[in-house]
Amino acid sequence: MPRFRALSLALSYIRIPRLFLSLFFFPLLLSIVLVSVQLYVTLLYISTTDRDAKTLSTRIETAKKNNPTKFLLFGSMEDLAPLKVCRWMKQDGQEVPPSPDCAPDRLDIALHVPNPQDFDVTSYSKLIDGISERLHVCVKDCVPDIVIEHGQREQVVTHFRSVQGGLVLSLLHFQEDVTEHYITIAQSLDEIQNHFGDYLFFAPGYSKPIKITGILRSFALLLSIASLVVIALWLAVKAHRKILDYFSKSGALLPMVAAIGKREFYGALWLLTLFRVLAFLLASLPMLLVAFTLSEEKEAFYELFSYDLSFFALWLTSLLVSFGLASIVASIADLKHRHQFFSFLYRYVPLFLSFAGLLFWAISFFIPLESMALFRTLLSALPVIGSGPILIAPLFPPPLSVLFFHSVLTILIAMKLLRQNSQWFAAHLEAL
């Protein structure tokens, strides 16, 4: 029962508290933090990909009401009091504020113009009303953190002397006068888009058309899930190396392999790595699903997987084993050639193969031959090379059998590779 022996061995290792903490618990915590950040960034990005007028209008309204920058600058999300315009006057050769309540504050805005007394500030007043308390108009002596310079040849330059000043300027995007224009443009684009509706791509070899409209948003969702798998496997490769180092530095590697058997020991090491991946996925996948289903992108998420949980599960499995094999290949190649100067390049070989596969797959759409559909199917079923098309399978869904064959072939190759490598591993224990 060698497999069960490897399993019981792996479980024995986990029961060492320090090994558990350093190899599982702390990396798990770190990875969950990573996932949270990644989820936040993804949802933020996805929210910016909706550009129709209605969504844009809602988003702008929300941003106006709940603007963290305003809170950071003014301690409140409300607009400031109505803008006071202060035209500075000359006194004893120097410019001074017209009244004591016009004394400049850091977050005020100044307008440097040659003729402060009669310069028309109407457009500026409308733009900055609510985000600054005072607009100072002078030739040069009023210098808060933000200064708008009107040069000799109608050149305008805005200087800001602090980060806070820059943040005040960023609030301009949410001012009524600006957002009006955004919404008008979005409405015009909507009208154009309504002439054509959704774009559907009838690619040869696909049972249903592929929706191209909103593909960026879907792709971001996919990348978000795929990046979980990538983070998990990256952690796994790191963990694998760490576990090996842990054993080899203690001198226990050789006695343990001798006492347990090379295949069982090697199997136990990979099982430990697998446990770590599973622990990470068990912690992060529910987080991801909950985040997506509670967010405004709930529908997009369901639609991406055609409301089919089995498709989602099969896709995720294919993705996991596919990238898993790539990690194993990278890890083994890296280990075997670690003494060579360019050894680090080996870890990118699977990545290069995946990318090449995706490139050929994409190029095939430009070749108007019926056989290209078969080519794409075969390419997608291949381990490593087919991992690109597998990654975007929810967008360009191949038959389920392709996902299935890809997974099975990948698992078989991974097992064969690990089996073969256990011999090499045993012969090089002292060099690890």
Binding site: Y13, A252, A258, I260
Partner: protein, 309 residues
């Protein structure tokens, strides 16, 4: 302890070749050797570790076989079931206590994490591991690490226990204690020991395998290995001018190992022409010298072997 009571293993090799990355580094055409404490000796890089790893099943065989058998049952020994190994540096995880480490081994090999406190307690006591149990691995000296791994090996009650350089760095007392320990357990298990300490090997081993440049150059009981490597020794005593005779003999017999031990001189080598030695000695001192032919010690045999090879 009589020879009949000893646990003996037989090492057999036939047209065996092994190595790394496809390069053969150890060849053993034919070997059949039975013993209780088997010494594996040779210069650095001779292939001792490779042979040991081959016996442990860690290296692939490029051709032929190399196996160990139990002489009583003629059963082929399976490394993970019947063997234990203690590396030169010993072993213990740096950040866990010795107790946790031994407990882990007990769980893995003996089925119970508490085995070392029950049936295996005698080994903990014999190797004086008790005071080390609460220490972390990183707090142990090299000798202590080796003791821990030795105890772990004994706990698993192997038929064949392989030691890599166990006497390296040990003082006289510790060397004696370890030698005694190995001899005391010969009834239950056989040992394979690599070492450069020929004096110790000669005292404890019953058979030896001598390796040179990845090939077995001699194998058998210690006496036959010594004869095989160095022929015999001639000891000259009752010398009037030993320094002068030593200088003359060193010039006259450059192919032999000539040692000046107090008032005696010993010549070791294959096919020593005793008459020629006598005539050379006669030039210095015509009367009174005594010549005695003897078996070379393992130290001398290896010295001669390494000098002439």
């Amino acid at each position: 302890m009589t020879q009949a009571h000893l646990k003996r293993i037989e090492i057999r090799a036939k047209s065996f070749k092994t190595g790394y990355e496809g390069h053969s580094v150890l060849e053993c055409n034919s070997l059949e050797l039975t013993g209780s404490i088997v010494a594996l000796i040779g210069h650095n890089g001779a292939g001792k570790s490779t042979l040991m790893k081959s016996l442990l099943g860690l290296l692939p065989s490029y051709s032929g076989t190399l196996d160990a058998f139990c002489t009583e049952t003629q059963r082929k020994l399976i490394p993970e079931q019947d063997m234990a190994f203690c590396p030169e540096t010993g072993a213990v995880f740096a950040d866990i206590s010795v107790e946790s480490y031994i407990s882990l081994w007990s769980r893995i090999k003996c089925g119970s994490a508490k085995y070392y406190l029950q049936e295996g307690a005698r080994y903990i006591e014999e190797l004086e591991i008790g005071p080390l149990l609460k220490k972390l691995g990183r707090e142990l000296s090299k000798g202590e690490r080796r003791r821990v791994q030795t105890a772990v090996g004994f706990l698993t009650t192997p038929s064949f226990f392989l030691f890599d350089e166990p006497f390296d760095g040990l003082d006289v007392r510790k060397t004696h204690e370890l030698s005694t320990l190995l001899q005391a357990h010969q009834e239950k298990m056989s040992f394979l020991v690599t070492s450069h300490r020929m004096d110790v090997i000669e005292r404890i081993a019953d058979v030896a395998i001598v390796l040179k440049d990845g090939a077995v150059v001699s194998a058998g009981d210690i006496d036959s290995v010594c004869s095989d490597l160095a022929g015999h020794s001639v000891e000259i005593s009752d010398i009037d001018q030993p320094e002068r005779l030593y200088a003359v003999l060193s010039n006259a017999l450059p192919d032999y190992l000539i040692e000046h031990i107090g008032a005696r001189i010993q010549i070791t080598g294959k096919e020593i022409d005793v008459e020629m030695v006598r005539s050379t000695c006669a030039q210095i001192d015509e009367v009174g010298m005594t010549f005695q032919r003897s078996q070379p010690s393992l130290v001398d045999a290896m010295n001669y072997h390494l000098q002439t090879s």
